[in-house]
């Protein structure tokens, strides 16, 4: 059982934070992770910046562009995270596009993740079939949880398939549009949250995209196990730098 399973079994209203590695400054990665844990965040998605994202909102895209300009690379991120398990014990997930993983070598990438103590991967553009055919065995060998995404457009059949293929949690994208925080969830989202809750999936769900404050966090975690905040946190870093991370977390948990 890895840290993701333990966390999801133990707690409800899981607060998970996404940030782009190498942003705002190249060497902020470790400090951001440590401060998030210190302030009571339950789980972290570390974003690997990519030059040609297909579905990121403007905030995340801008942070990616800046991170790449700062000099962030896959190898450097691994280097920065080398000793992370000496100070951090919450689940850590790497999130990024598939190409950088392919370029690093999928098995080498997974081995490195295990060495460091990464618990899971989210690769939104890696298709389920390709994963099962070519990479599932490798992920398993290195104890990595692979997280799949669903959206309001995903059919029930597909969701069942994904549920069967998952062993950790399902990342529930809140809307059919790209990332970016919004002010609140409307009826469409409530219907979608309910529909998924009614499916009684074996894997817990964590909602992402569009969560920006304590209201949306509460709304999202009424039915789902947890929620992921990305764009809103990155905007906060842009405005406040990395020294007041506690304020951001308190604002969500209040």
């Amino acid at each position: 059982m890895n840290r993701i399973h333990q966390k999801l079994q133990a707690d409800n209203k899981i607060l998970s934070i996404y940030f782009t590695a190498g942003y705002p400054s190249l060497n902020d990665t470790v400090k951001i992770i440590q401060d998030l844990e210190k302030n009571g965040v339950d789980m972290i998605e570390i974003g690997l910046p990519f030059s040609d994202p297909l579905a990121d909102g403007p905030t995340i895209q801008a942070s990616s562009t800046q991170a790449l300009k700062n000099g962030m690379t896959t190898s450097l991120l691994f280097q920065q995270l080398k000793d992370i398990r000496e100070s951090v014990s919450i689940p850590l997930i790497l999130m990024g596009y598939f190409n950088p993983v392919l370029q690093y070598g999928v098995e080498d990438f997974c081995r490195k993740c295990q060495e460091i103590g990464i618990d899971g991967l989210i690769l939104p553009d890696l298709p389920l079939d390709v994963y099962q055919e070519n990479y599932e065995a490798i992920f398993n060998k290195y104890g990595l949880v692979n997280v799949f995404l669903i959206t309001p457009q995903t059919s029930d059949d597909r969701i069942d398939q994904i549920d069967a293929a998952s062993d950790g949690f399902i990342y529930m994208v809140s809307s059919a549009s790209v990332t970016g925080s919004q002010d609140g969830f409307g009826n469409n989202q409530e219907t979608y949250f309910q529909r998924i809750a009614d499916m009684k999936l074996k894997n817990p769900q964590v909602v992402g995209f569009g969560i920006s404050n304590s209201e949306t966090f509460q709304q999202a975690t009424k039915q789902a196990k947890g929620a992921i905040i990305g764009s809103a946190f990155i905007k906060f870093l842009t405005q406040n730098g990395v020294d007041k991370i506690g304020d951001f977390v308190k604002g969500i948990r209040k």
Binding site: S51, A55, T65, P100, Y104, D125
Partner: protein, 403 residues
């Protein structure tokens, strides 16, 4: 090639052997599946095919002729023939898949067509298709290309399309694709992305190829009627690879025909100076599909250059990637300078100003003719060069009329 080939590739997940597929985030997955399903049901229906055939004949002016180049052949040897896609309405092969994509969009009830463009040919073709079907159209184009391909920018606007300038990165084709995808994702329900070549996630490489097959089907018949045999060599330029797939598709199965895909060698074979994806690339994932790809030192899509805006893309169609591995097609490189020379040669020997993209194919055909004076060479002249005249004359000058 036999129908079997077209039914085998791509497979149901869009793979041509290891290439292609749909490496896309789930927000796109459901929409791509809808397009795929619609493609299989609607575009194979009798009504769809009849409508498209009628459009090709009465609106596009097809079939386009195959033409024997008297003076060019005389000068360089060989027997050089051109499949005249420059005479297709709007002046390039691009309209073949645009009319198909737009007809499908209309059947799907879409309101707006979105696409990228490099040279502006695909943008003009799509804007034309949008006007024909009464749909809105939004074209994303790098600022570098906007400056270089001014006449096409004006044409798109006259046709009623909105042209969105793209200012990030190298401001050329790759960035235009990024930007167009982004716009599409904001509203994948009422808009449709009409990609400009045999690239992108499944089903686009298959769909665009199938709509371009008309080029090969016509050319094979026409060539045979003119000569009583098949061409020894078939040559086409490869950017994403749509015009090449179009013409190659009818000759893949013919052992006596050798196929050549011509890539842009740019200024040199140094990194960033060319876009010779097949020659120097290695497998990677770009814009939702796996293919040969030119990369930077981090393994991300690399910097590319070509004198032809429609060819400077760091990826290439997945089917071409497979055909390279299967050794069904030879992929060759032609430099910017050789292209410019061919541009003037064809203009002055035959009275045909080729697009700079197509001039790559002409340049390679000239080399082949010199090396094989006995052979017949069929070139896909994918487009006309009106769009390029200012750029060529300003950048490379106007050589004296041949003495």
């Amino acid at each position: 090639m036999s129908e079997n080939y077209f039914k085998t590739y791509p497979d149901k997940n869009g793979f041509f052997k290891e290439y292609g597929g749909a490496f896309i985030p789930p927000v796109l997955e459901a929409e791509m599946k809808k397009i795929t399903d619609a493609y299989y049901s609607i575009s194979k229906s009798h009504n769809f095919i009849s409508e498209l055939r009628s459009i090709r004949k009465h609106y596009q002016g097809r079939p386009t002729p195959v033409y024997y180049c008297n003076r060019l052949s005389e000068k360089y040897g060989g027997r050089i023939y051109l499949k005249r896609e420059d005479l297709n309405h709007t002046g390039a092969h691009k309209l073949n898949h645009c009319m198909g994509e737009a007809l499908l969009a209309k059947h799907l009830g879409k309101k707006k067509l979105i696409a990228e463009t490099g040279a502006g040919q695909h943008g003009v073709a799509l804007a034309t298709a949008a006007a024909y079907f009464g749909l809105e159209c939004e074209i994303h184009m790098g600022e570098v290309d906007i400056a270089k391909e001014h006449p096409n920018v004006v044409r798109m606007k006259i046709l009623g399309a909105k042209v969105v300038p793209v200012s990030h990165g190298l401001k050329t084709l790759k960035e235009a694709v990024d930007s167009a995808f982004e716009a599409y994702l904001k509203d994948p329900i009422t808009t449709i992305y009409c990609i400009g070549s045999v690239v992108g996630p499944h089903p686009f490489p298959m769909m665009v190829r199938d709509f371009q097959r008309v080029v090969g089907i016509e050319a094979k018949e026409q060539f045979f009627e003119m000569t009583g045999e098949l061409p020894d060599k078939v040559v086409a330029c490869v950017g994403g690879g749509s015009n090449a797939m179009g013409i190659f598709s009818s000759f893949l199965d013919e052992p006596e025909c050798t196929l050549y895909g011509v890539e842009p060698g740019g200024r040199s074979m140094e990194y960033g100076e060319h876009a010779a994806t097949m020659t120097l690339g290695t497998p990677g994932v770009i814009h939702g599909f796996k293919c040969y790809m030119l990369k930077d030192e981090k393994g991300e899509p690399g910097a590319v250059h070509s004198v032809a805006s429609g060819l400077d893309y760091p990826g290439v169609g997945p089917e071409h990637s497979m055909l390279k591995d299967l050794k069904k097609v030879n992929y060759e490189v032609v430099s910017d300078q050789e292209t410019i020379d061919a541009f003037y040669e064809l203009s002055r020997l035959e009275g045909i100003i080729p697009a700079l993209e197509s001039a790559h194919a002409v340049a390679y055909a000239i080399k082949l003719a010199q090396q094989n004076p006995q052979s017949s060479i069929l070139v896909n002249l994918s487009g006309r060069g009106d769009k390029d005249i200012d750029y060529v004359v300003d950048t490379f000058g106007l050589p004296d009329v041949e003495k």
